[in-house]
């Protein structure tokens, strides 16, 4: 919609104003690592921190946990009455979301909101959230969004996009909500100059070049076909060898959408139902009644993840259920780099 500039000096004032009306979530440093966190009285709001946090790549925790907590109550029956789950109506703003996490949200949109049945909890969390996304001026070794045709700057879903530039921040309002948030909360925004805009363009082309250097081998345009035809059990088994089966990769993945409905008894009166994060690497994931298991061996389950993300999801939606965020191998104790497998397949 429009481009604005806010100086570094005015940034914290603006954030404070947002905090009066909204719950604010933004990336915060903890011992050199970045986490999406709610802004409360305790975590410091220094412009210095914000500037550096915004220039970093995506935080360690996946954005999905703000839309679908690892254990979410979704109903139940107690004394034959439906358990009502109250919705939190506090409006909130998430700042500093990177394109890879936006892509994760897009995958979840397809899974939870686009079909015949909609998840009312996910829908509610989306509706109370304003998203202020940010560029990635310095992609790191773990980043490979470019291999999946994604850019190191926001392309979708955002209300506002921020880019840290010399002396301040470039704001681009994308939605009406985003535009209102800029013009109504602070008088210190001014129209962006041609120089500001040119600087952002330069930041973006630098980031793209850097990504190309990090990831020199591109993926086949027929990746899904390669995955389909890679039927040799050996291949998957070998790549899965160093896996310690902690399944951290799937839980931390911003696109992984699997869950399990899990009931907790309430005395003898009934039960509450929870939607909990699940992962296709678990042995019992596909097991059917009586114990038969179509993916009894770990190699089969390992391969299933690739089928899901790069084949089945892709065939249906024409984009991959992977955003190249690199979290899965950043956490991997067995040092399994998904890029290596995607290139070799």
């Amino acid at each position: 919609m429009a481009l604005y500039f806010l100086s570094r000096y005015h940034l914290t004032g603006w954030l404070r104003k947002l905090k009066e009306k909204y719950q604010v979530i933004l990336p915060q440093y903890y011992e050199a690592k970045l986490y999406y966190e709610k802004l409360n009285g305790e975590n410091v709001l220094s412009e210095e921190n914000f500037y550096h946090a915004l220039r970093k790549i995506r935080p360690a925790n996946p954005l999905k946990e703000f839309f679908f907590t690892p254990k979410l109550k979704v109903g139940g029956l107690v004394e034959n009455k439906a358990v009502l789950v109250p919705f939190d109506d506090t409006p909130r703003i998430i700042i500093g979301v990177k394109n890879c996490d936006l892509h994760g949200l897009r995958v979840h949109e397809k899974m939870y909101l686009a079909a015949e049945y909609q998840d009312p909890f996910h829908k509610h969390e989306r509706s109370r959230t304003i998203i202020i996304s940010a560029d990635c001026p310095e992609p790191e070794e773990t980043c490979f969004c470019n291999l999946l045709d994604l850019k190191p700057y926001p392309e979708i879903i955002s209300d506002i996009i921020i880019t840290p530039i010399t002396g301040g921040y470039l704001f681009e309002s994308i939605s009406r909500v985003g535009e209102d948030l800029i013009i109504n909360t602070d008088h210190n925004f001014r129209a962006a100059t041609q120089e500001n805009i040119a600087e952002r363009a330069a930041i973006r082309s630098y980031a793209l070049e850097k990504l190309q250097k990090i990831n020199q081998k591109s993926l086949s345009v027929e990746l899904s076909e390669h995955i389909k035809h890679k039927t040799e059990h050996e291949f998957w088994q070998t790549h899965a060898l160093s896996c310690v089966e902690c399944f951290g990769c799937l839980l931390i993945c911003p696109t992984c959408f699997c869950f399990l409905l899990y009931d907790v008894p309430i005395n003898d009166k009934g039960f509450e139902r929870y939607k909990i994060w699940d992962a296709c690497y678990y042995n019992a994931y596909a097991r059917v009644g009586g114990g038969a298991n179509p993916r009894a061996e770990f190699g089969q389950r390992f391969r299933n993840r690739f089928h899901c993300k790069f084949m089945n999801f892709y065939w249906e939606h024409k984009f991959y259920a992977c955003s190249g965020c690199g979290r899965c191998f950043a956490v991997c104790m067995g040092k399994i780099d998904i890029r290596k497998i995607l290139v070799e397949v």
Binding site: G75, D268, C280, N312
Partner: protein, 273 residues
């Protein structure tokens, strides 16, 4: 406010019919809830405090107010269900999935091939077809159980035999002293000279995975067309609405795109069963 698809409604067990030593039919009163299903769709049944499992109603879709489910005791949820008395409450969600496209069966010969408790969903289909029996050229019911004791719906099967245009044939894997019928796996019933127009026939199959596999192979050998072979796919399920990922089978979510898929739809999937 959109509906919460994870929320079950209560239902009351009003009758329990002992079909075999480990299969029972549970008759549920829906307590006036606005609930109806079509043959082929399934529901998620909650045993309070234990969990949920998917089952296909075995009763006629046009009967409102109550539904029946014929259930085999195999594990956690079903074992607990078998401990519940008449009068106990359970939860149900659904119906989910797609119905059988029975309008495509009109004017054709329909083969219903069932194994074990797999006859349950097929009974619902058969009862739906029975509402307009004259519309179908002929219905063959071919059913196999492990032993004579494991045959479900004994009484109804013998009644269905007498219906015009319906033929019923049974087999058991292991006979006992009193058994005078056929012995062998259910696929032997497909060696039937009366199945002579197979390229035009409809086959509807439900049973354990091994039977689905060899049943399909034999049907294809006999000349059935892939798009006319309807297979009930048993996959692990949780949400029932295409969101949780559990029932993935190739490009399909069996809960949403199935649970009945044709062989034509799944023939390129590695190990579909």
């Amino acid at each position: 406010m959109i509906k919460n698809p994870f929320q079950p409604i209560p239902a009351k067990i009003i009758d329990i019919i002992e079909e075999t030593p480990n299969i029972r039919t549970f008759v549920l009163d829906l307590l006036g809830a606005d609930f109806s299903f079509d043959a082929g769709q399934f529901v998620s049944l909650t045993v309070p405090g234990v969990g949920e499992a998917p089952f296909t109603p075995s009763s006629a879709p046009y009967v409102k107010d109550t539904i029946e489910m014929t259930i085999m005791k195999v594990g956690k949820v079903t074992s607990k269900l078998f401990e519940l008395p008449i009068g106990a409450f359970v939860g149900i969600r659904g119906p989910f999935g797609k119905r059988y496209p029975i309008e495509k069966f009109e004017g054709k010969e329909v083969l219903i091939l069932g194994g074990g408790v797999g006859l349950a969903p097929l009974r619902s289909l058969f009862l739906a077809l029975c509402a307009n029996l004259e519309k179908y050229k002929k219905i063959f019911i071919k059913y196999g159980a492990r032993t004579p004791k494991d045959i479900v719906y004994k009484k109804q099967l013998s009644e269905w035999k007498n219906l015009k245009g319906v033929e019923v044939q049974l087999t058991v894997d292991n006979a006992d002293k009193g058994w005078r019928g056929k012995v062998g796996v259910v696929t032997i019933l497909l060696d039937d000279p009366k199945l002579n127009n197979t390229s035009e026939m409809i086959a509807v199959v439900c049973g354990p995975p091994i039977m689905m596999k060899f049943g399909t192979i034999k049907l294809l050998e006999k000349g059935f067309q892939g798009q006319n072979i309807y297979l009930s796919m048993e996959k692990n399920m949780s949400c029932g609405i295409g969101q949780c990922g559990h029932c993935r089978c190739g490009q399909y979510f069996v809960c949403k795109d199935g649970p009945v898929l044709t062989w034509e739809q799944i023939k390129d999937i590695e190990d579909p069963f």
